[in-house]
């Protein structure tokens, strides 16, 4: 029997996002990895789920989700299969992590290739290089070296080129 994808979900688990495909034979997959979960017991708020010989206890307590007693931040949303990826024309480059800008490597109206370094951010003794997500022209630079930035703050703006 051909197996087919019957659903797709985007799951965010502690700020990390996975796309999970659910297959007609009950398999779940993330990227190239295929997993076959088994529900062993299922109480009202607690499930014991076995995957690859590992057991996970999932429970909800006062609207908080726990896996094996560890609290997790979690949400999911369906990804529709007829959904066409939208091409982003303009975007702000943001930082996930707060820190200090140590160097801006580009100027406004510069053209950059995908993965070209744009600026350096230093946080907790680590230097992080922030790169261009696609070929683009720098439309605006909102920060300079020495600026302290918060998470989700826009650092510069790009237009696809």
């Amino acid at each position: 029997m051909e197996k087919s994808i019957i659903n797709r979900y985007k799951i965010n688990l502690n700020d990390e996002t996975f796309e999970v495909k659910i297959w007609s034979n009950g398999d779940y997959s993330i990227g190239d990895s295929i997993y076959t979960p088994t529900i062993i017991t299922n109480g009202n708020n607690t499930s014991i789920i076995k995957i690859d010989d590992k057991t996970y206890k999932v429970s909800i307590d006062e609207n908080r989700l726990f896996i094996n007693e560890d609290a997790v931040r979690f949400n999911y949303k369906p990804v529709f299969s007829n959904h066409k990826p939208q091409i982003v024309e303009n975007m702000d480059v943001k930082t996930k992590i707060p820190g200090t800008i140590t160097k801006v490597l580009v100027k406004e109206s510069n053209v950059v290739k995908k993965d070209d370094p744009l600026l350096f951010l230093e946080t907790m003794k680590m230097r992080i290089q922030i790169c261009a997500p696609f070929r683009a022209i720098i439309s605006k630079i909102a920060v300079k070296a020495g600026d302290r930035v918060d998470s989700n703050q826009a650092l510069l703006s790009l237009s696809r080129k």
Binding site: I30, P37, I49, K125, I128
Partner: protein
């Protein structure tokens, strides 16, 4: 030489340890703090505190004039540097002494001489320690780097002559990669520490990192306290330490320890320090000396049963060492893991935030060194280290199990940490056998297992929430019962 009021020029767990030691000796303490740290434990625990203001580290914990001003205003007569920050800055040690305060650590001259890594290498070799083949002079320019690398043979490693914390270490595979690597390292060093001197060593491909703790007093007594193995690293920064090392026999410990003591004797050294080695193919290679108390002394404290921070104060007060070489017998086994606010699966990137809840493990022979509490802000300004969990037991396997139970008990909300990574690490065959080195994280399946478990969790949560959200399960999750038949259809 005595002192009665100590300014603690540090924060976090090490500041707490120093304040505890001072209290044991009936000394008064002054904490320093920057904006946002008003409620931190070290500020509460010290007798008095001095506000450094807002700004980057250069304006606060690295601001020498301001710290000296704090001493003067608060009437301190000694400074405890801790680790990191100004602890290995000879300028700081010198200014502190010149102002008439006691620096709880080695002299500015000893810090400067040992901090010049190329010079320390030379003197180590003269003291019969082996060194990794490499340059005998500083690298003048990119052409010079090419010539030297050609002589010692690729792959090589470019290393900062000053500084630590893993900044400015880069390996170079071939001459083609040299230009990029050379400029990358020197520019990076220029921007972070305004000294871009480098030298070159041959690259060892699977070394263990093993270090010897030593202690010296002003009467010329120098003793060593055995070794720690710190091979588990990411970005050249340690994540796990243990003592003793599975590699080091009693005889090796004695021989290496004696060589270390003889080497340190040439420096007129006072207080604590560590000589770091790489070990590969049966040979110990000297790499550098840390002229401060290290982060990972806890494992040495557990196997020797001495309070080494208290000993630093004792020695600084002018007393002789409270133990002799024959008192040092490593008893049992200790392992420490560093809990960092970081995500191992996102390249170990830091994860600052505010701690919503925390539970710290406690058990017989289990210790947690930390300064965090519910509501504590893990700031992007500082190192991601938030706690160290240590276990001791009569042998390594018991110790490992004890640590595993402690890690299972540890829980925290508000920041992502590497605690689960540590559980997988210490359960791995590499760690259990002791056959691990500085490349194990990269070359083992530890990261794959961690990634897979993360996938499992995502799927388990999705499966669970579908079960919970729909009365009838619309998706074909398997139950135990029909599972058996499925494969045969």
């Amino acid at each position: 030489m005595g002192f009665s009021k100590v300014l603690i020029a540090n924060r976090g767990e090490i500041a707490l340890r120093a304040i505890h030691a001072a209290k044991m000796l009936d000394l008064k303490t002054i904490a320093i703090f920057s904006k946002g740290e008003e409620n931190d434990r070290h500020v509460k625990l010290a007798d008095d505190s001095f506000y450094l203001g807002d700004g980057n580290l250069a304006d606060t914990y690295l601001n020498i004039p301001k710290i000296l001003q704090a001493c003067q205003e608060k009437g301190a007569d000694a400074i405890y540097p801790g680790y990191g920050f100004l602890s290995e800055n000879p300028d700081f040690a010198e200014k502190v002494s010149n102002e008439g305060y006691k620096f709880i650590g080695p002299s500015a001259t000893a810090i400067a001489n040992l901090g010049h890594k190329l010079m320390a290498r030379k003197r180590a070799q003269e003291a019969n320690l082996h060194i990794i083949p490499g340059s005998t002079t500083l690298i003048k320019d990119f052409q010079h780097a090419l010539t030297i690398a050609e002589q010692i043979g690729y792959p090589v490693i470019l290393k900062a002559n000053y500084g630590g914390g893993g900044v400015g270490i880069l390996n170079v595979e071939s001459p083609l990669k040299m230009e990029e690597a050379y400029y990358h390292v020197t520019e990076l060093l220029d921007s972070v520490q305004s000294n871009s001197e480098i030298y070159i060593e041959r690259y060892l491909d699977h070394p263990k990192h093993i270090e010897i703790q030593f202690f010296a007093d002003k009467f010329g007594n120098i003793i060593h306290l055995g070794e720690r193995e710190c091979s588990i690293q990411r970005r050249h920064q340690k994540l796990l330490e243990e003592s003793p090392s599975t590699t080091v026999t009693e005889q090796m410990r004695e021989e290496l320890g004696e060589l270390v003591v003889d080497f340190i004797r040439t420096y007129n050294y006072e207080n604590a320090g560590t000589v770091e080695f790489l070990y590969q193919n049966g040979e110990f290679y000297f790499i550098e000396v840390n002229t401060r108390m290290q982060n990972e002394i806890g494992v040495t404290e557990l196997v020797t049963n001495y309070d080494l921070i208290l000993e630093q104060f004792n020695v600084a007060l002018g007393h002789p060492l409270s133990f002799s070489q024959k008192d040092i017998k490593l008893k049992g086994h200790a392992i420490e893991v560093r809990i960092n606010a970081e995500n191992p699966l996102d390249n170990f990137h830091p994860s600052p935030g505010t701690i919503q809840s925390v539970f710290l493990p406690s058990n017989a022979n289990t210790r947690t060194d930390t300064a965090i509490f519910k509501g504590y802000h893990v700031s992007p300004t500082f190192d991601p280290l938030i706690a160290k969990i240590l276990a001791w037991d009569i042998n390594r396997e018991q110790c490992r199990k004890r640590l595993l139970t402690a890690l299972s008990d540890f829980s925290i909300e508000g920041v992502t940490t590497n605690s689960h990574f540590h559980k997988i690490l210490i359960s791995s065959p590499e760690f259990i056998s002791g056959k691990y080195d500085t490349k194990t994280i990269k070359n083992s399946t530890i990261m794959d297992i961690l990634q897979k478990e993360q996938h499992h969790k995502a799927i388990a949560l999705l499966a669970h929430s579908m079960k919970s959200n729909y009365d009838q399960n619309p998706y074909p999750l398997r139950s135990n019962v029909n599972m058996k038949n499925r494969g045969r259809i």
